[in-house]
């Protein structure tokens, strides 16, 4: 497929009054992860995050850790996952989510080109804070890859200003102080941070980490432009619910966000 610009696409949806939904699927997880990605796209996602698994996923909780271990054990590689992604037309923009060592090992320019050739629009690199990001941001931009930066509840106003000027695609507002994973309650930090972000940027602000249920998504979207849903999706895959389970879950999120 031809690359869909992540930010332009998300802005268009947002400006049309739609709340944005970005599910995450660990690349290489089980035999049908790509079918699951297609199912998520068909069930109302606005963009997709595909994980390139890393051996030491330091900011991920148990669910995505387990998925990463399983994917790597079955031989998943960045090249294999990207080749699979490039073989399908998901109809919505794709961003990869990976750790910086995967990029550093390949080389900035080489990885940026690999992503672009696979039709990937964006990259999310949670262990690459804005102060260290410049070499990658330059290589990514040169290849047309939009790098999504993250803001956290403890990010100072001065840093937030820097982050919003450098982020591309969208701004990832980390909803709570902690690792990825499902939580029973929506953290109070989620809406607070989303509001702070919305005040200083016009880039779409999506809240991720700890968004586990359609109700939580709808709640935070009173302030935020959308949500990233990771562990809740991957959990379905680990439980063997397959693409149908993912389709059902993403559909429920879509319904909650649309109503």
């Amino acid at each position: 497929m031809s690359r869909t610009e992540l930010e332009r696409s998300l802005r268009r949806q947002r400006d049309a009054g739609r709340k944005l939904l970005v599910p995450y699927v660990t690349g290489g997880l089980g035999p049908d992860w790509l079918l699951a990605a297609e199912a998520a796209a068909a069930a109302g996602a606005d963009a997709l995050e595909i994980g390139l698994p890393f051996s030491d996923p330091m900011i991920d909780g148990p669910v995505i850790q387990r998925a990463s271990v399983a994917a790597l054990a079955s031989g998943a590689t960045p090249a294999g996952i990207l080749s699979a992604v490039s073989s399908v037309d998901l109809g919505i923009p794709v961003a990869v989510m990976t750790y910086y060592n995967i990029i550093a090992r390949a080389g900035h320019k080489r990885m940026a080109n690999l992503l672009a050739e696979a039709g990937v629009a964006g990259a999310i690199v949670p262990d690459l804070p804005v102060d260290e990001a410049e070499p990658w941001l330059a290589a990514a931009a040169a290849a047309g890859i939009e790098t999504v930066l993250l803001a956290a509840p403890t990010t100072t106003d001065a840093r937030l200003k820097e982050i919003v000027t450098r982020t591309r695609g969208f701004l990832y507002a980390v909803g709570l102080m902690g690792v990825t994973g499902e939580r029973a309650e929506l953290a109070s930090t989620a809406a607070d941070l989303a509001a702070r972000c919305k005040e200083v940027t016009d880039v779409p602000v999506l809240v991720g980490v700890g968004i586990s249920t359609p109700a939580q998504a709808a709640q935070v979207c009173a302030v935020a432009d959308g949500v990233v849903v990771g562990s809740a999706v991957v959990h379905r895959l680990l439980d063997g619910e397959g693409p149908e389970g993912v389709s059902r879950l993403v559909g429920e999120f879509r319904t909650a966000l649309d109503s």
Partner: protein, 404 residues
């Protein structure tokens, strides 16, 4: 090139040691790292903080530790061999220097809880000890594989009031314990200090831990001058896991003419077999595959079972101020026995790596008559059972050359 005396001072901007170091952490941890950096600089320049630390290390920890000249073993090897006796610290290793400093810092920052990673359990025991001393809560993360291998240290930590969590993720060893400690810290930084065990992790940790271990090198330098009639050693050698005992020791000798040598475990030789990478918050050298997946280290000594190395060592190696070599399990076991038999000192398996290199090189790259300072970073009690089981599996030959 930077003049030698400027090496091993403040890292450059953004925590850099040349190309290495840095702060590659999730945005959620940036503010905690910044707070730590500010607090450490303030404390380190504060005479009151320094006096409290000195007093704790002296009266609680047992400093200064002596330098002992091994007359018998030195004769046998044809060199002068001096041991910096960090094994005589309370809890049995140099790890105490670091944790007492970090616990004091944590107290100043108003933190009430320490988290730590541990491999063999030495750093975990030291942290649990400091937590008990300071009346803090303590959580130690330890790979599930190591929990099984190091039952006794797990019990020690619990005796000291710490909670020990067996880490089941990834390869279930030290690198995974570090990930888990970082995950804990992301969620708890408001009340918790991450007491990292070596000169690794995001800036400012490699700098803080080196400064807290600098006392080893500074003491050793003046002690060596007493023994060597005002001279400095020709060779300074230490084992390297993350590299804290080596960094502290080297800091005392980097501006002398001494040859600085770090000895890694052959199965964890990040300097030899690794390539540059970014893991655990730092750019350094790591064992990894073509895609950037981190590989497991494998060594008889759990304390050296780390697939990376502290960033300042990567830098010292790159500029040629220090050299990094490795020793095999078999050489290490032989050196372990040799020190016990000739000097009456049972070393930890970690510093036995440094000795194994000295035994191999004496009369070769270490000329006869050289003065060698070796940091004996810990005592061997923790390893006796392991060495016993290794010996049982490979019994010595009897007088007729058969296995009994």
């Amino acid at each position: 090139m930077t003049a030698a005396f400027e090496v091993m001072r403040e890292p450059a901007e953004r925590g850099r040691f040349g190309d290495y170091g840095g702060r590659f952490v999730p945005e959620s941890l940036v503010s905690a790292c910044e707070e730590l950096d500010r607090s450490f600089h303030k404390a380190w320049g504060d005479p009151h903080f320094r006096a409290r630390l000195d007093s704790l290390l002296r009266y609680y920890g047992g400093r200064p530790t002596p330098v002992w000249e091994c007359a018998r073993l030195g004769d046998q090897l044809g060199i002068r061999l001096l041991l910096k006796r960090e094994d005589l610290n309370h809890t049995g290793s140099h790890k105490l220097n670091n944790v007492i400093g970090q616990a004091l810092l944590a107290e100043q920052m108003g933190k009430t809880r320490l988290v730590a990673e541990t491999g063999a359990g030495q750093h975990g025991v030291a942290t649990a000890t400091a937590a008990a001393l300071f009346g803090m809560e303590c959580m130690v993360y330890m790979g599930a594989v190591d929990v099984e291998r190091q039952e006794l240290n797990v019990f020690r930590m619990r005796l000291l009031g710490a909670e020990v969590t067996a880490v089941e993720s990834g390869s279930r060893t030290l690198k995974d314990a570090i990930n888990e400690a970082l995950r804990d810290w992301v969620a708890t930084a408001a009340t918790t200090h991450y007491c990292i065990g070596s000169v690794m992790g995001p800036h400012p940790y490699p700098f803080i831990v080196r400064e807290l271990q600098r006392i080893v090198g500074e003491e050793a330098r003046s002690q060596c001058r007493e023994v060597l009639a005002g001279g400095d050693p020709d060779v300074v050698v230490c084992c390297v896991g993350g590299g804290s005992n080596a960094a502290g020791t080297f800091a005392g000798f980097v501006d002398t003419g001494a040859r600085l040598v770090g000895v890694e475990a052959a199965g964890g030789a990040a300097m030899h077999n690794g390539v540059p990478g970014v893991v655990h918050g730092m750019r350094s050298m790591f064992l990894q595959d073509e895609d950037g997946q981190i590989l497991e280290a494998e060594s008889i000594s759990a304390g050296l079972d780390y697939p990376g190395i502290g960033p300042e060592h990567a830098h010292l190696g790159k500029i040629g101020r220090a050299e990094y070599v490795d020793a095999s399990d078999d050489e290490v076991l032989a050196a372990f026995r040799l020190l016990a038999e000739t000097e009456g000192i049972i070393p930890a398996l970690e510093p036995a790596h440094a000795l194994a290199w000295v035994v191999r090189e004496a009369g070769r790259s270490i000329p006869k008559g050289s003065a060698v300072l070796l940091t004996l970073s810990g005592r061997g009690d923790k390893d006796v059972a392991l060495v016993m089981s290794r010996s049982a599996r490979q019994p010595e030959l009897d007088s007729e050359g058969r296995r009994p």
